[in-house]
């Protein structure tokens, strides 16, 4: 049983207090939805979990995962920036991340967001939505325990949204965990919702 636990987290950015006393517990197969207005700290919290931020106080622990790796090394973090290189083709982009992250399943990644037809086109030619799909395909490329998604639905059409939902569902049912910050409600029942930025 894998469990992600946050306890009395506080976060500051540029000297400004973003949030204080955030806590949650998430077990395998569960999805935590982050809600809240702009600047409430949804993105900061996701980065904090990934280890890409520093908490002023409190701690995050992952029990039952791979003890040799940090939380971030067991997580996918997908945000607004898509980590795509325009001169490389779709397949080359995926191939790099597959290699760099320790071996990936290219076929699964291409299939997850219906990218097969685009595989040999340079990423520079992709539309915003297609880039988004390529970026999210990393989730299917390399299996990782914890998914940290920051507004993953932005720019996706109904079909792709559907694929994302399916992918998430598959991830959860195979024992994965996910924390998703979103404005648009997903077609998925979140096991818990954390609303940031209400106590002022």
């Amino acid at each position: 049983m894998v469990q992600l636990q946050a306890d009395s987290l506080a976060c500051q950015r540029g000297g400004r207090t973003v949030f204080t006393d955030v806590k949650f517990t998430l077990s395998s197969g569960q999805l935590l939805e982050l809600r809240g207005p702009n600047g409430a700290g949804k993105s900061s919290l996701l980065r904090l979990i990934a280890g890409l931020g520093e908490a002023v106080s409190g701690q995050i622990t992952l029990t039952g995962g791979n003890g040799d790796l940090s939380i971030g090394q067991q997580a996918h973090y997908a945000a607004h920036q898509e980590a795509i290189k325009a001169p490389l083709t779709v397949a080359e982009n995926l191939k790099f991340w597959g290699d760099f992250l320790g071996g990936g399943d290219m076929a699964a990644a291409l299939a997850a967001f219906d990218l097969k037809a685009l595989a040999d086109y340079p990423a520079a030619l992709l539309s915003a939505g297609q880039k988004r799909r390529l970026s999210l395909a990393r989730l299917a490329l390399v299996p990782r325990l914890l998914w940290l998604l920051d507004e993953p639905t932005v720019g996706l059409d109904a079909n792709s949204l559907d694929r994302l939902t399916r992918l998430l569902r598959g991830h959860l049912s195979s024992g994965g965990l996910a924390v998703v910050a979103t404005h648009a409600p997903l077609d998925l029942i979140a096991d818990a919702t954390l609303v940031l930025g209400t106590a002022r």
């Binding site: 500051q12 950015r13 540029g14 000297g15 400004r16 002022r200």
Partner: protein, 240 residues
């Protein structure tokens, strides 16, 4: 040490320390300048020009000492996360740069009559010039990075990396056949300099050190005030 981590405590400490520091600084400068300009004998080779040394040598010592303490403060900040350590390093930089510039200018004034040129590119002069560049680079980092927390992290790396130059400055006269004269005070086997010249040198060094401490306290005080102002401003836009 941790006791002074609290800015309020530090401010109080600075408040009590500053008046006596300024008092002793003025006394030390008066005594040091009198001794170096009046009682110290002229050098048998350099004549009266040697008196520039009493301003020049302690300034060069300070330039090295201040950079060393900046690097030390940066290491402390990285290891012990002492909140005042970054601030101290930041506040020390312009003062150290000033000493460094003073050493370069007075050295140049001395070099013209002695070597016949305002500037020569030998190992000592070049490495001190590099020291000045490192001071400027360090200050530029603080200026360029908006977020003070991030700036502190980056400035630490720059200060520690630049420390490599300090031993190069110190030993440049031994390692390379430099035009600049070798060490005559801090050397193995004791000083080789006449006591009537050594004393004014040491008293001037004391005066410079006190001046540094006084200026540092003032600079840190204003740094604390600036951070407080920033906090208040941030609180002002909170939730608007």
């Amino acid at each position: 040490m941790q006791k002074f981590a609290n800015p309020a405590r530090f401010l109080k400490l600075a408040e009590t320390l500053l008046p006596p520091i300024w008092g002793v600084t003025i006394l030390a400068f008066a005594a040091g300048l009198y001794m170096s300009l009046v009682t110290a004998p002229p050098d048998y080779q350099q004549g009266e020009t040697v008196r520039i040394m009493f301003v020049h040598v302690p300034a060069a010592w300070m330039a090295l000492m201040v950079y060393t303490s900046m690097a030390a403060a940066s290491v402390m900040a990285a290891i012990f996360r002492h909140p005042l350590a970054d601030m101290a390093a930041k506040a020390a930089a312009p003062i150290g740069a000033m000493f460094c510039l003073l050493a370069l200018i007075t050295g140049s004034l001395w070099g013209k009559p002695m070597w016949g040129a305002w500037w020569v590119w030998d190992a000592r002069l070049t490495s001190v010039f590099v020291l000045l560049l490192l001071y400027l680079g360090y200050m530029a980092v603080w200026q360029a990075i908006e977020d003070p927390h991030r700036a502190a992290l980056i400035a630490r790396i720059v200060a520690i990396a630049g420390f490599i130059n300090v031993p190069i400055v110190k030993f440049s006269v031994d390692w390379w056949n430099s035009l600049h004269q070798g060490a005559s005070v801090f050397r193995m086997g004791g000083p080789t300099i006449d006591a009537r010249m050594l004393w004014p040198l040491l008293i001037m060094a004391l005066a410079y050190t006190l001046l540094f401490v006084g200026l540092l306290l003032i600079a840190m005080r204003s740094e604390i005030a600036q951070r407080k102002l920033r906090q208040l401003r941030l609180a002002g836009i909170e939730g608007r």
